[in-house]
Every structure is written in structure tokens, then in C-alpha cells.
Amino acid sequence: MTAIDQAVTAAAPAGEPPLLSIDNLVVEFTSRQGETFRATDGVGFSINAGEVVALVGESGSGKSVTARSILKLIPHPGRIVSGKITFQGRDVMRMSRQRVRQLRGQQVGMVFQDPMASLNPVLRVGDQIGEAISLHSNGRPTGIRARVRDLLGRVGIARPAERARSYPHEFSGGMRQRAMIAMGLANNPALLIADEPTTALDVTIQDQIVELLRDLNANLGTSILLITHNLALVASLCSRVLVMYAGRIVEEAPTASIFDQPQHPYTWLLLRSIPRLDSVEGERLMAIEGQPPNPRELPPGCKFHPRCPFAIERCAVDEPPLAEIAPGHKARCWVLMKNAVQTPAVVPA
């Protein structure tokens, strides 16, 4: 069995508990004026071993807060109000701080959008990666140096022994992101959380980083949670997609279904509002009217209803649940539940 086969089959183990599961996560922020709002409200999903899952949403949708909750890294003044986070069968919410810190960097690696903000500018890149290893093991210095070289080589940095001695500013943006990924992988984590890992990078470099993540999943079986606003990245890398809007998951489906049969009106409109290299020339873009929701002033009912061209009366009053509308395909929409045949896709533009 090749590594690639392993990764694919590992993605759906029958009866095995998921690597990570999140239930009913509620994160609240309190402003200086004492006003409280929810950044995520009732978020729940799971990731199986070897799976690459995308968490897609716009700014303020709660996707980054969700990702950071997994390692209890919610910035002040945010706090997890309720919810259950289980990683490798253990309850993260009840872990001690020290235990969570062990989890971070050991079983769970993290890569952020801006590598310059996460790398220490006065330490050599190799030493920083080495530190990530030695924090979680008591290896000998020579062994750690060899491991650093191996990691840098694995993420595609040429002449790794030499490059390990460089400082972050001597690296290009793409190389820094590779170094961050090397650090995230330092201790062979079971899960890599990548929060907008390519957003700050040029398109040619973005393509290389995406390919690197794909190879890591295929060769090492590392599970990846990719947080992004870029739907095109999702198509190339992920097997399952979670779409977030206003702190909620509004749609969840295998990648192919999200692109072929998007069900939630938000997902459907979003896919049609992006210009594509293969779209028809001169065709007007379909825009989503209105503004993204402000988490402080969410509307009643379905949070998308003020912008939704398909909204019915009920949408303004009751919030729909996230319900299975086809096997493995969930959406949070009354219109879909009332009459599953009448999907948005048949409504003329």
C-alpha cells in the first residue's frame, strides 16, 4: 500500500472515533463597554485521521476563532463559554494549561497567515525549529540539528543545513511560510491547523505551498484543518468543506458536492460571485447584495436572510438548524427543508 493510498483510506475509517471533534462551541467576546457578542455560536464538526478539511468563511465569520479554540488560544477578551472539544479521545476543555501546551506543537501543529509575526527576528530559523523540537523531547543537540535539516529539506528549502543558520529576514515570504510549516511539523503532529497559510503570498508561491500541504498529507498522513476565505484553494486540497457565516456553520459537504451542488444560498451565491479563469467572457458577476454581518448586531432568524434572494417569511423569525439534506451534506436553510426539491440552483438568476 502506498503512502497516498494510506492517506485516502485513513480518511474514512469505519467505526473509528474521529481525531478531533468539536460540539456546540460558543465563544464570546466582551467589549470595553461591557457589551458581549458571540464570535461562534454552536459550532460543531469532526476531523478524521488523515483527512483534509476546509473551514471557509469571510472576515468575522468565526473561522479563526473556531480554529484557535481547539488549542484554547482565544485572544483576550474572548472566552469559550460552552462546548466540547475532544482530541484523540481526550477532553481538551478539561485539560490543564500545561497539558494543552504539550498538545500544542506536539500532536497539533499550527501555521498562521503572517510568518514574520510568528518567527522571532533575532533567532536563527534553525534554532527556532530546534527549540520547537526540544520543548517536546530531550533529544541530543546533534540529533535535533539533523532533524531540523530534515524538516527544512522536507518543506522544500534548498541547502537546508546552510539555510538553518539564516535569520527570518534573510528568507523570502514563501521561504518563511515553509519554515513555519517545518516548525508546525517539528514533532510529527497528528493534526496541522493552517490559518490562511497562503493569503500573504504571491500566486506562484501559494501554489507551491498548497502542493507542499498536499504532499505532507499524502506522505505522512497528517490531518489538516485549512482555514481560508479562498474557495479555489479548497478545491485543490480538501476532501470536505465547512462553510461558516456569522459564527455558524451554514453548510457542510464533501468538496465535490460543495462545488457541484451547493445548497445553502450563501455558498451558492459565493461560488457565482468569484470571477474564474474559465468563466464566460463579458458575463456580469453575480454579486451578493448587502454587507457582511456585524457580530455585534446579528439579525433575528437566519443570519443570512437580509442578503438572501430566496428568503421566506420564516427565515426572518426562526433560525434554521444545520440539517442533513442529502447523505453527508448538511445545510442551515428553511427553504431547503421546506421543499428539498426546490433548490436554489433551479431559481433563475
Binding site: E58, A158, D202, S273, D278, A287, P292
Partner: protein, 326 residues
């Protein structure tokens, strides 16, 4: 292409722009941000300008509207040479050529109401004051999909998309012929980008505007541009009609760019053919001699590409590329 023949509205000829940068202890180095770039834009046309960060595309945009001075070469807008303009005449260029920025928030004073921000150019150019100015402001905001109630409010009260509408209204209020839009949608949420692209297209039709649309997103540029220019390391490496450029890219850099864009469709994405570069392109620094792309180029032939800088030359009708082997 919508161009109507005759003289182009904007003409960029052999423009170079350099910056002095500190090159280490007591040393000064020169950064060649724009090197010998020439092109025309016809009235009513949209020229897309693409390239990666550091390619010089934003610098070039600023040079064209005279926010930055050229070191050599010339820019002509509506028959007037931009660099020769001084004082009042230099300002009068801005009646014809305006700029829309990536982050309109940074170009709007947070202590000024939207009314004041839009009244400022009208006052500076002695066009209108008081009630007459208010009427023009209301019209410009309305053209950009904003209600008159925005006038009494401050920039920070608006979302990113609304601020960009205000930024466009501010550029539009002087009734310019030509607008340089520098990454006007890249800071916006995905669901808002299409609104702004559609708005720019509607305004172009209504006011017969000419655009230089600067962006790193090649799919957006393909959607909006009649012609596309590609920059790499300060040089113009390819320019052609939009359809021609996307269907038959001639320069290896353009080919690499186009092959790097992910397609939001899993099946097509799986079939996408990626160009391979023989080197780790994220660490390759540009060649100092010859073709600047030669260090990353999968088709480079040495020693020629490392020594002789290729000139921009016609490949086919109205399609130019700077490559020895295109």
C-alpha cells in the same frame, strides 16, 4: 477592445522610476522599481496591470497620476505631459486622472465626515461650494450605491465595501476621464468584491471612463480588462488583448502565473497542468544581468538569457513579449 482610434488618452513612454534605499552600513543602493516601461491606453479602455508583489505595478500607477515623479521617460494624459506640470497645472491633471486605492480607509481622514471628504476636491478646484457641492456629493454617492445619509457620518462607521464605494465616489466627483484603480477589491471580503467590480463596470459605461486596473488577481483582471500588461521586476514583460493573453500567453513568466491559479472546481483543478520551474522559485533571486526572470525560468537557455536582456517585441498583432524564445 473599446478604443476608438486616434490619439490614446494615456501614453506612457520609456518610464523609469528609482528609489534610493539603504544597502547596509553607509551604503546607498538604487532600487529600480520601474524600468523603461511604455504603453498606451485608449479612451474608454480598461488596461489590466498584473504582477506579483514588488513587480513595480503600484509604483507605475502612482507615477502615471503624478503622485510620484518619474526619473526618466514621460507620461501624457489627455495630451498633457504629466511630468512637465507644475503647481496649478499639476493639480489640474487630477481633475482628469484620479486614483482609487486598495484601502480607502487610509486615504480618508477619520476626523472628516464623508461630506467634508468629498467637498474637499470640489473646493480645491473651485468647482462648487455649499448647496451646489452638496448636490454633487449626493449624486456621486448615489452613483456608487450610497445614500445621502452617509454624508454626515465618519469613515470608520462603514464596512470595507462601503468605504470602497466612498473612495470611488471621491475619485468620481471631479468627473475624471481616467482612473487608476490600485488593487481596488483585494482587501474586500469575497462576497463584496463582485459588487465593486460590477460598480466599476457600470460607472465606466455611464461616464465613458478609462481605467488602469492594477491587481495581482488574474481572474478579476481577465473579467474586467480589455488588454492586459504583465510586469516582472519593474519591467513590462508582456502586453496583449485580454483574450489573447489568457489563451496564448507568450512569456514564460505569464505562463507560470496563469498555471499557478487554482480553479474553484475540484475536477478541473485535478487536471490543471502546473508548470515546473527547475529551481526552488521561492528562494531564487532575480538575475542582475540579462533577463530578470532567467533564474526562475523553465525555458531559459544559457548563456544568452543570463547575459542579454530581451527587448519587448511583437509576437503577433498587438501582442508584445520580452523573451528571446517567445
Amino acid at each position: 477592445m473599446i478604443g476608438e482610434g486616434g490619439l490614446p488618452l494615456v501614453s506612457v513612454e520609456a518610464v523609469s522610476k528609482q528609489f534610493e534605499v539603504r544597502g547596509g552600513l553607509l551604503r546607498k543602493a538604487v532600487l529600480k522599481a520601474v524600468e523603461n516601461v511604455s504603453f498606451d491606453i485608449a479612451r474608454g479602455e480598461t488596461l489590466g496591470l498584473v504582477g506579483e508583489s514588488g513587480s513595480g505595478k503600484s509604483t507605475l500607477g502612482r507615477v502615471i497620476v503624478n503622485l510620484l515623479k518619474v526619473n526618466s521617460g514621460s507620461v501624457t494624459v489627455a495630451g498633457q505631459s504629466v511630468a512637465a506640470l507644475k503647481g496649478a497645472a499639476r493639480r489640474s491633471l487630477w481633475r482628469h486622472a484620479q486614483m482609487v486605492f486598495q484601502d480607502p480607509f487610509s486615504s480618508l481622514n477619520p476626523r472628516m465626515t464623508i461630506r467634508d471628504a468629498l467637498a474637499e476636491p470640489l473646493r480645491n478646484f473651485e468647482i462648487a461650494e455649499g448647496a451646489a457641492a452638496d448636490a454633487m456629493i449626493r449624486k456621486a454617492l448615489d452613483d456608487c450605491g450610497m445614500g445621502a445619509q452617509a454624508m454626515a457620518r465618519y469613515p470608520q462607521e462603514f464596512s470595507g465595501g462601503q468605504r470602497q464605494r466612498i473612495g470611488i465616489a471621491r475619485a468620481l466627483i471631479l468627473r475624471p476621464d481616467f482612473i487608476v484603480a490600485d488593487e481596488p477589491v483585494s482587501a474586500l471580503d469575497v462576497s463584496i468584491q463582485a459588487q465593486i467590480v460590477n460598480l466599476l463596470q457600470d460607472l465606466q459605461v455611464e461616464y465613458r471612463l478609462t481605467y488602469l486596473f492594477i491587481a495581482h488577481d488574474l481572474a478579476v483582471v481577465r473579467h474586467i480588462a480589455d488588454r492586459v500588461a504583465v510586469m516582472y521586476m519593474g519591467r513590462l514583460v508582456e502586453i496583449a488583448g485580454s483574450r489573447e493573453l489568457y489563451q496564448r500567453p507568450a512569456h514564460p513568466y505569464t505562463q507560470l502565473l496563469l498555471s499557478s491559479i487554482p480553479i474553484p472546481d475540484p475536477r478541473l483543478e485535478a487536471e490543471r497542468v502546473r508548470l515546473r520551474s527547475s529551481v526552488d522559485t521561492s528562494s531564487a533571486s532575480p538575475s542582475k544581468t540579462g533577463c530578470p526572470f532567467s533564474t526562475r525560468c523553465p525555458r531559459a537557455q544559457f548563456p544568452r538569457c543570463g547575459e542579454e536582456e530581451p527587448a519587448l517585441r511583437p509576437i503577433s498583432d498587438r501582442h508584445l513579449a520580452a523573451c528571446h524564445f517567445a
